[in-house]
């Protein structure tokens, strides 16, 4: 007879797993190199070249954030399979879906640490309202892109290429198309939350562009993040992960 575990066990174990993997990410040299890179970008853009805050914020939140999410999150489970360490977590009495979610969030959190301080700083240059908008957009954006790329990492053989194609050809290109199609992209919603929409004056075709409301975009991003995380968790729970020597 196996004694029952408390109802909160999965969540508690996932929290432990999140803390453990977050610590591992923060100790990695790659993280600190990225941190130096992001700081360098901000110093160059604002301090040296005096690029307007709005454009730097776009570069950081709309372009760099998703790219970093792609770089970090596609390998969430794949990396542990390659390292052959997956067995240690997956042979424990914890739902593998919860462990997966903890792992994705522990991977997305360092990306947030790379982007969020810069976004807040840039927002504060304009005012606290903008800082709040940039901060919210960054967090929701990274959750949505992180969850999506982690899911992509489980489905596709070459997830980084797929993710790059998604960012360039779907998210960026389609994001420029006015109306309904534009709303199908994550970047449109991130722009709306951060109030970094492409202005009507940016191109004559943009007169047809009707951005979604901020609340709708926030909800869209949050629901998308939750759905992709859940779908990834479901996939992990149902699928075998074969570790071969």
């Amino acid at each position: 007879m196996i004694p029952p575990l408390p109802r909160s066990h999965d969540a508690h174990a996932a929290w432990v797993w999140f803390g453990f993997h977050l610590g591992r990410h923060l100790r990695r040299r790659t993280f600190w190199l990225w941190m130096a890179g992001v700081l360098g970008f901000l110093v160059l853009a604002r301090g040296v070249a005096h690029v307007p805050t709005r454009f730097v914020a776009q570069g950081l939140i709309i372009q760099l954030g998703p790219l970093l999410a792609l770089f970090f999150c596609t390998g969430v489970i794949r990396q542990e399979i390659e390292d052959q360490t997956l067995t240690y977590g997956f042979s424990r009495p914890v739902s593998r879906g919860w462990l997966y979610m903890a792992r994705v969030l522990a991977t997305a959190a360092p990306v947030a640490l790379l982007v969020l301080p810069g976004a807040l700083y840039l927002g504060l240059e304009t005012g606290p309202q903008t800082a709040l908008a940039y901060g919210t957009a960054t967090v929701l954006s990274l959750a949505a892109y992180g969850g999506f790329f982690a899911l992509v990492g489980q489905i596709f053989r070459w997830p980084a290429w797929f993710g790059l194609a998604f960012l360039l050809f779907w998210d960026v290109a389609l994001g420029l198309v006015p109306g309904f199609l534009g709303k199908m992209t994550l970047s449109t919603h991130v722009r709306t939350v951060a109030d970094l929409q492409i202005r009507l004056s940016d191109g004559p075709w943009m007169k047809f562009f009707e951005p979604p409301t901020r609340l709708a975009s926030m909800l869209t991003l949050a629901v998308f993040a939750a759905l992709t995380l859940y779908a990834g968790g479901l996939l992990v729970r149902r699928r075998e992960h074969r570790i071969t020597r």
Partner: protein, 310 residues
Amino acid sequence: MSAPMLEAVGVSKLFGQVRALNEVDLALGAGVTGLLGPNGSGKSTMLKLFSGQLLPDAGHVRLLGRDPFRDAPARRAMGLCPEQDKFYEELDGYRFIEILTRLHGFSAADARERAARALARVGMATDGKKPLGAMSRGMRQRTKIAQAIAHDPPVVLLDEPLNGADPVARADLVKLVRQLGDEGRCVVVSSHVLHEVEAMTHQVVFIRFGRLRAHGDVFRLRGLLTDRPYRIRVKTADARALATRLVALEHVRSVTVQADGSLELSTTALEPTARATAQLAQELGLSVSAFSSPDADLEALYRYLMESAG
């Protein structure tokens, strides 16, 4: 009879076109069981199925009556020492086991205490403080076993647990495995090193080409191989006199006097022949200086089973 702690019913597992396991039925209870077979025979696949790492393509696997793949809490009853020598290298032994033990629902303090106890049990109380990346292969192996037993599971699965361990550590680990079995746990040890498995247990499971070849006590299994008579070697002062009497025994098929003066007989029944040999020697007033059966051990059984498997 009590319910098995581990059970496989009609289990088949395919990897692409390769059938790793083929309709395996197996039920294991408390005590140590050696899982034996050549490379690629399906031993590790069997352990991965029992630990819920893999899902059978046909049949089902039960861990204390529950499905270890789909039923996550069922895995609380199991400790797994995986085959691969891979770790979160930057951690020390204590932290590594503490983190994994916390996933069983223990508090940080409890998990630390359990990690210390488990590491002490495998002789790593001092070396466990080293980063895993700086440990020798034997230390890493012992740490891997410690993480499998830290939460005190009733079922312990050890995949090649003696790999890389030095002779002293091997002897200690053999003792530990026997202790775990004596404590009433179901311990399954997959290994290539037959004499070490023999030192741990007489209960064995033979797998070849994904099929279960034999399961049970080594000596009972050996006795079932009626087409393979036992060889017995006896060293005594008057081998010819003893040979004349032995050849008349019911189970004895042949008796040969060797160049060194010892006797070699072939028999279908080991125990009765051994008893009769002692009695006859006594009647003849002969002292027996050596008595052995070179093919009554696990190694011989393994060889015969693998040969007969084709």
